[in-house]
């Protein structure tokens, strides 16, 4: 089995002990097919058990292992060692406070996610006797790719507007609101618009597009946000120009 020594420079920070974050260099023998997560696991198992980081599925579906690898927001289970040369710099996900080492405080994102009501709000309540809410494949395709979000927060790390304005709802939250707005079974669009059609909602976005570039599930949050802008603009004209539509 092909093995090589991989050098990782990992950010360490224990708020109860350290004044500020610092880097620690590790040298760990790695197999050729390994990902950064495997290297971290090897470090934790045999070199330094005090290293802290999140991970779970190891196959890019749970969204737990997001971190900055050589300055780019990546899933550590999705970053192959063979694609890197030299020392690999591993830091916690940008734009979030550090809880410890590579673990960030995700509360801000979770809070925003809750605010956009990312669940179906039926337009009319159908009694069970009337059967299920049905949907054609075409209706599903309308929002399907937006539903692939694994809440990994890489898009928040990549977004320069989120970095500048922490109140910004952010790519994933607004994309998920849009996913439900587009769902034919949903009737909660107006409620969500109150949250996303605000200055700290979609209007903070300047279409840099970095979010879509780093998304591991090709959700295309940038596209979703532009669509929300178009829809919100049409709403605005309808509300302000057509009489009797005031809400």
């Amino acid at each position: 089995m092909n093995e090589r020594m991989v050098h990782l420079e990992v950010l360490r920070y224990d708020p109860q002990v350290d004044g500020e974050p610092h880097f620690q260099r590790y040298e760990v023998p790695c197999k050729e097919e390994w990902v950064v997560l495997d290297a971290l696991n090897a470090i934790k198992e045999s070199i330094d058990p005090t290293l802290n980081y999140r991970w779970s599925c190891h196959m890019a579906v749970c969204g737990s292992c997001g971190m900055m690898i050589n300055g780019e927001p990546r899933l550590s289970c999705h970053a192959f060692l063979r694609d890197f040369e030299g020392v690999i710099r591993v830091e916690p996900l940008a734009n979030f406070p550090i809880e410890r080492d590579l673990v960030t405080v995700a509360d801000d994102f979770i809070d925003k996610l809750k605010r956009v009501k990312p669940y179906l709000i039926p337009g009319e309540n159908k009694p069970i006797a009337e059967g299920e809410y049905t949907q054609t494949p075409a209706q599903l395709m309308k929002y399907r790719h937006f539903s692939m979000c694994i809440n990994c927060m890489l898009c928040y790390a990549a977004c320069p507007q989120y970095a500048l304005q922490p109140l910004f709802l952010g790519p994933a939250a607004i994309t998920l609101a849009h996913r439900y707005n587009l769902d034919s079974r949903d009737g909660g669009r107006e409620e969500r618009q109150q949250v996303i059609a605000t200055n700290e909602g979609v209007w903070e976005c300047s279409f840099v597009g970095a979010c879509s570039e780093v998304c591991p599930k090709a959700v295309d949050p940038a596209g979703a946000l532009q669509q929300v802008k178009v829809a919100s603009t049409l709403d605005w004209f309808r509300e302000h120009l057509l009489p009797g539509n005031a809400k």
Binding site: P160, Q161, L164, Q193, Q194, V195, A197, T198, N199, E200, G201, W203, S206, K229, S232, T233, D235, W236, F237
Partner: protein, 113 residues
């Protein structure tokens, strides 16, 4: 949090952007040719004056100037914010004022033709 009023500027920005994308290159080309000494027929006084005298010509010129200015204003505002100029309110007022002034002046000048 109230719903934003950003859509007004954004729709001007988007309309201006599309118009600029489609028209700016060829319009600039006309003036570039003039700069090189080959003034296109339309840019000669008689033709351009006749063009601007017609209400369609006026509409075209006004739309182009106004939308280009509003598009540039909004985009500049956002870009300056990204570059680090944080006084957004001040920047917004400044750029939109220029765009508004430009629009007003175009109306005035075109009305004189």
């Amino acid at each position: 949090m109230a719903k934003s009023n950003k859509p007004i500027v954004w729709s001007l920005f988007a309309a201006g952007g599309t118009l600029a994308a489609l028209l700016a290159p060829v319009l600039v080309l006309l003036f570039l040719l003039a700069a090189m000494g080959h003034v296109p027929e339309l840019l000669a006084y008689a033709q351009l004056h006749a063009f601007a005298a017609h209400w369609l010509g006026k509409l075209f010129l006004l739309t182009v100037i106004a939308l280009f200015l509003w598009h540039a204003a909004h985009r500049l505002r956002v870009a300056l914010h990204d570059f680090g100029l944080r006084q957004d309110r001040l920047v917004a007022v400044a750029v939109y004022l220029v765009a508004a002034l430009g629009t007003l002046l175009s109306v005035l000048y075109l009305a004189r033709i």
